[in-house]
C-alpha cells in the first residue's frame, strides 16, 4: 500500500465544533428562533424569540471552486458580512448580517463579481451535482459541465422566486446516481449491456463478486477463447452498470450506450405528500458535451410548464399528481412509451388499479 512516510499520528477530531465559526447572532439565538420571512429572492430574514434579527444573503457558486474564487468570496464576506459564512446543502454560500443596511451593498458586491443572488423560496436552486469526468473513475458524462450549462439557462429562475414552489434539481454522471432524487433529475442512463474485454477480466476482476453484483443474475462465469472470463445474458441485462465498477473490463460506457434520461417528481420533504422517487420522462438523449442542448431543451419544457400551470406550494411532482400524467405529457409534448411502464420489483403497485382516469 502506498502510504506516505511521516510517522505523525492523526488526531481523530472527527466532526469539528461549528460554534467556533458560527455567526455570533446565530450562536446567541441557537435553538431560539421564532419565525422568518424573505425580503426578496436570495434574502432570508429570521427573527428570534428575543426579537433579535438576522438577514441571510444566499449566492450561487460553481461548487468546484479554485482558491481564488474562495478568497474572493472571503473578501466580500469580510467587507460586507462580518466574516462569517456558511454553505448550504446545495453548495450555495450564505452570508449572515446583523443589520439590514448591509443587505443591498452585499448583493451588489456579489453580483458585480459574478455571483448570482437567489436560490431561496420558490426559485430554482443550485443543481446538486456529482463528479464525472473531472474526478470519477466510472463516469458516463461530466457533472460540472451539465450543471454549468443548465444553470446558465435557469439563471433568471435562480435569481427570482417565480415558481409554484422550490425546484430542486439533481444530476448524476453515471447510473449509480450519487446525485439522488430531484424535482427534475438529469441522469446517465445506459442503453446497452457491457462490452467485455475478455483478456482482462480474470486479471482485474474478482469474478464471484461481480456475478453477485448483478441485480438480475445476468452474469455467469465462462471460458472465453481459452481464458476464464464472464458472460452476460443480454436478454436479461437491464443495463444498470453495476458490474462496471467492480470489473472495469466490462465497459458500460460508449457513444451508443451512454445516454441521458430526464426524470421528474422526486421529493425529499415530507411537506403535504410523503417523499417520492422521481419518475422517467425522457430517455435516450445524446451525451452532447460541452453544453448538452437536447437535455437543456427538455428541462426547459418541464420547468416552464410547471411555472405556468402549477399552483402555489405544489412541488413539481405534486402538480403532476393533481393534473395527471396524461396532461403532463401533453403539456410538455413528450412521448409516453412502453418504457414508462415500470417492470421492476413492486411494479404492480405503480399501476392504476382504479377507475380514476383523466381526459
Amino acid at each position: 500500500m502506498n502510504v506516505a512516510v511521516q510517522p505523525r499520528r492523526p488526531v481523530e477530531t472527527g466532526v469539528p465544533d461549528p460554534f467556533l465559526y458560527m455567526h455570533p447572532v446565530l450562536k446567541k439565538n441557537y435553538g431560539n428562533w421564532a419565525w422568518h420571512d424573505r425580503l426578496r429572492p436570495g434574502v432570508l430574514h429570521h427573527v428570534s424569540k428575543t426579537g433579535e434579527e438576522v438577514w441571510t444573503v444566499r449566492a450561487g457558486t460553481q461548487r468546484q471552486m479554485d482558491v481564488y474564487t474562495i478568497r474572493l468570496l472571503c473578501d466580500i464576506g469580510d467587507r460586507f458580512a462580518e466574516g462569517h459564512v456558511r454553505f448550504t446543502t446545495r453548495s450555495n454560500i450564505e452570508f449572515m448580517l446583523s443589520s439590514v443596511d448591509k443587505v443591498e451593498p452585499l448583493i451588489a458586491a456579489l453580483e458585480n463579481n459574478g455571483f448570482p443572488v437567489g436560490g431561496t423560496g420558490n426559485s430554482v436552486s443550485m443543481i446538486s451535482h456529482t463528479q464525472g469526468w473531472l474526478h470519477c473513475d466510472i463516469p458516463g458524462t461530466d457533472a460540472s459541465g451539465v450543471v454549468k450549462s443548465l444553470m446558465d439557462m435557469m439563471h433568471h429562475e435562480f435569481t427570482h422566486e417565480e415558481m409554484p414552489n422550490r425546484v430542486r434539481i439533481t444530476t448524476s454522471c453515471c447510473q449509480i446516481n450519487c446525485g439522488g432524487q430531484g424535482d427534475i433529475s438529469i441522469n446517465v442512463q445506459y442503453t446497452k449491456p457491457p462490452k467485455i474485454n475478455h483478456d482482462l477480466v480474470s486479471k482485474v476482476c474478482e469474478r464471484p463478486a461481480v456475478v453477485a453484483r448483478c441485480p438480475v443474475a445476468a452474469i455467469r462465469p465462462a471460458m472465453v477463447n481459452g481464458v476464464p472470463s464472464l458472460e452476460v445474458d443480454e436478454k436479461k441485462c437491464v443495463c444498470c452498470g453495476a458490474c462496471y465498477p467492480p470489473c472495469p473490463p466490462m465497459q458500460i460506457n460508449g457513444a451508443d450506450s451512454t445516454k441521458i434520461a430526464v426524470w421528474v417528481g422526486g421529493k425529499h420533504s415530507n411537506a403535504r405528500s410523503k417523499p417520492t422517487f422521481h419518475k422517467l420522462v425522457v430517455a435516450n438523449l445524446p451525451n452532447n458535451a460541452p453544453r448538452w442542448p437536447e437535455v437543456e431543451a427538455v428541462v426547459k419544457k418541464i420547468l416552464y410548464a410547471y411555472k405556468e400551470h402549477g399552483r402555489d406550494y405544489e412541488r413539481l411532482g405534486e402538480w403532476i399528481e393533481r393534473i395527471g400524467w396524461p396532461r403532463f405529457f401533453e403539456l410538455c409534448d413528450f412521448a409516453f412509451t412502453k418504457h414508462h411502464l415500470d417492470t421492476w420489483t413492486g411494479a404492480r403497485k405503480t399501476m392504476n388499479m382504479s377507475a380514476h382516469v383523466r381526459f
Partner: protein
Amino acid sequence: MSHDEAKGASTPKDKHPTPLLDELETGPWPSFVTGLKRLRDSGDKQYAPMMNDLLGQLEHSYENRLGYWKGGTVSVFGYGGGVIPRFSEVADKFPASKEFHTLRVQPPAGFHYTTDLLRQMCDIWEKHGSGLIAFHGQSGDIMFQGCSTENVQKAFDDLNEIGFDLGGAGPALRTSMSCVGHARCEMSCYDEVRAHRTVINEFLDEMHRPALPYKFKFKFSGCGNDCVNAIHRADFAVIGTWRDDMKVDQEEVKKYVARVGRKYAIDHVIAMCPTRALSLNDDDTLDVDNRSCVRCMHCLNVMTKALSPGDDRGASILIGGKRALKVGDLMGTMIVPFMKLDTEEDFEKLKEFGRSLLEFFADNALEHERIGETMDRIGLPAFIEALGIDPDPNMVNHPRTSCFVRTDDFTAEAEKYFERKLHKDARAAAE
C-alpha cells in the same frame, strides 16, 4: 314468520334435534334456520326428508366445526358446467341429503324480477329440489341449492323452459353481474344491460363447456361507484365514465351550500376531492377543473341535483382483478381508459375486445392461472403489446421509478407515439 311460530313447528320425534342451530332462530334478522325448518316440516313435500337430514348434517357440522361435503361430477345434457355437485361424507347418518347439488342459474341483467316469475321458480324448485334458493350468489347466480343427481336435469329443463340458463363453474367464463344502472340510477354512463348481455351471450360456449385455463369473470358497473365490485372481483371490469366536462347547475350548488353551510361544504366536498379539482367561489358557486377531475364520483354523489356526468359517456376497462389464492389479491388495472358505448359499432368493439382477452387468456395463461397473474408474470408492457394496445399514462399511477431497463429503442417507441398523436389530432379535427 315470527320465530315462535317456527319453534312451535319444530323437532318432533322423527326429526334430528338441532340445539345449536336453534340458537340461530333468536334475534331480529330473518333466520335461515327457521326457513330450513319450514321446508323440513312440510310433511307433504318430497324435499321434507332431505331437509331433515340436511339440518341434521348441518347441526353435525356446528357440533364438530367441520364441513361434510365433497365434490364430484354432475352436469346436464350438453353442458360441462353450471352445476356444483355435493355428496355427503356422512350419508350413512343423513341418507336423504346424500346428494345436495346446486344449479347456478344466470339472473336477468340487473336482477329484475316479477313476483310471478319468482313464484314459477319456487314451484319448479319445490318439484325437483330442496325448496332452498339464494338470491344471489356472490357472482350473481341464482343458486338453486339442494338437488339429487337424478333431478338435476329435470330442474334444469323446467327452468330452461321458462327462459333461464345455467351459469358458470370450473375453468370457464363465469356468470356476470351488472348494476341497476340505467334502470334506476342517474350516475349511469352506459347501458349496462346491453353491455352485459351483448358480451356474455356472445361467449356462452366458454361458459357451458369449460375449456379455459381457469375462471374468467366480467362485471359491469355504470360508474366509478362500482356497485358490483367489478374492479376487485372481475378479470374484466367495465366501469362507466365520461370524457367531457361534468354538468354543473350553479343554482343547485348555491342551494346546497346554503343548506349545509360553507364550512361543511368545504370540508366535505372541496377538501375531499382527491385531486383538488374543486374550489368554492366566494359567491358560493363551484369551480371545477375538469382536466384534473378523475371521475371519482364523490362530488356528484353528494350533490345529486347540482352535478352530473357529462354527455360524452362510455366506459373504462380494467383487467386482472381476483381474490387471494396463490399470488395474493389483485385489483383490475386500467387497460382501456375510455371506450365509447353508444352505437351498435361501439358495443361490437366491446365484444371484440372481450374476445381478444379470452383468446389471449386461453393461449397464454398457465393452468389455474388468472389473467391478472399472467399480466404480472409477463409484465404490463408485454401484456399490452400482445393485445395490440398502445401505452397510456392512465394505465399507471406514475411512470417508472426504476432505472433498471434497456431503453435503446426509446426514440423509435417515441416516434410511434407521435405518429399516433398526429392521427388522433387529425381525426379530432375531421370530426
